[in-house]
Amino acid sequence: MYEEKERPPIFKKWSGWYALVIGFLVALIIFFVYFTKYFA
């Protein structure tokens, strides 16, 4: 696999982006569950 040496945007490592995106998705899903239940 080709390895790119350039740093990812904002974070030092790509693990930072993984954490941000997974955290964002989890937060959205929790919000959506709450949203569904609140109005149901």
Partner: protein, 587 residues
Amino acid sequence: MSYFDWIVLIISLLGIILYGIYKSRSSRNLEGYFLSDREMPWWLILLSIMGTQASAITFLSAPGQAYTDGMRFVQYYFGLPLAMVVLCITFVPLFHRLRLYTAYEYLEKRFDVKTRTFTAFLFLLQRGVSTGISVYAPSIILSSLLGWNIYITNVLMGGLLIIYTVSGGAKAVAYTQQLQLIIIFVSMFIAAYMVVSLLPEGVGFFDALQVGGKMGKLNVITTGMKPNGGFDWSDQYNLLSGLIGGFFLALSYFGTDQSQVGRYLTAKSLRESRVGLLMNGLVKVPMQFLILLIGVLIFSFYQFHKAPLFFNNTLIEKVANSAYADSLKNIQSEYDRFNDQKLALMEKFPRVEAGMDFSPVFQEELKKVNRQGDSLRKSFKQMIGKSGVGGDSNDTNYIFLRFVIDFLPKGLVGLLIAVIFLASWGSIAAALNSLASASVVDFHKKFVNPSMTESQDYRIAKIYTLLWGIFCIVVAMFAYNIGNSLIEAVNKLGSLFYGVILGVFLVAFFFKKIRGSAVFWSAILGELGVITLFVLNEKKIIGLGFLWLNFIGAAAVIAIAWLMQILISKNGNSSTYIHDTTRIPQK
């Protein structure tokens, strides 16, 4: 439409065409025409990616889908954010480093000409047909609701954008998409505001959400579990299919579909491409959620107003002129009674803003009335089928525009019809540009005339853009009765090919020992397998949601290629040398 609406519509469309031509200046070579001289900033990449993915179908079907099926469609996008990160680490740096025009060029470097050609062919087939549907889908809706001639509408929908797409290439596409998206988002926000403002006195936004929620339309998260236990594999949209199937679909769409690859290859640096894609991952789900929410608001609006039996008037008229005219009258009068009952019930609506509770008794009564309405709508849809008048018995795509035409003030109707055109143009222009780039780079320059000058390249690129534009309009002219939601039709078509194309790229990236012949035949076998599963599902022999085809296609290619490579190696037909051009030294 009023004269004022026509003026707003014509000014909006003309403005975009002139702006596109104004922004057309780029170098007169392939890099200028297909890749905007590789000088775009990240925010333009973001808007271009979004404008390419969000077609008119997105803005027509999504609110209608929320109206009929609730908001669970948003789960379809759950795999997208993670896919953006994976792409930024794997596909994007490699494409940039190799300074490719199309994603498929890489496959020749890694495998051989036949694998590159086959994959590029699958792309042209899939993207060409789905772009034709993207022209037809909004055209049939506008022609039905406004009485426009379908052929002329197809030509306007798919033809006017050709003016700036042919003259300006990728640069004109990106700059017009930026302006188009601004107009679209502002107009959709105004439409949402208008829905709420048209609710009865004292009924507000949260009341509308409560009505939608109590009627099961705010079902954003669904597990896909059957009531008696076990996972329902035929369920189209749920958390698992969205996360896994959606991840593979997004990986394939953004990583291997030239209509998207061509957008982020226009970036001035690798970093700009990455930021554009990562931002897309963060904004896509909330954006889709808000578009679907408009559909729920419209559903709530129709709880306080008389809803049409069927949102496509043209089909009602056709049935009224058929042998089923009397049956239609009976259903219509029953539906009128349903509307009266519903409105009488909603007189007692407990307003949230007045601190009143939505009691279980009231909720059950409203559900009961709505079930009655749904049953009558279902009967009418069956009647359409029996009457033989033709047309789509699903009116999901007509709901949003029917509301716009019936209830929004003059001027706004024209603006929202302009939105449909602009959204359509944004995605079609990018598709034409990518179809032309794959045709020129992967076929014409490869097999017809490899030694063209820059000016010949430039001219032939324009000719291919024009030819693909004409092809898509011709497909639109023949597209008819696609059935169900048009957004699903396009997504289903994509899922037939995306998994296999993704499988080829994943083998290229992660399985160094697998070579051209193994991956080529595995792609053909994988494609046949996916088409077989799709046909079996359509014939109800198996139950499989279409999103799973992306995962199955990719997995099948990897597994078959791996097995074939072992067999080829054992038979001694393969040397141990792996032609690996992906390990390119740093500059």
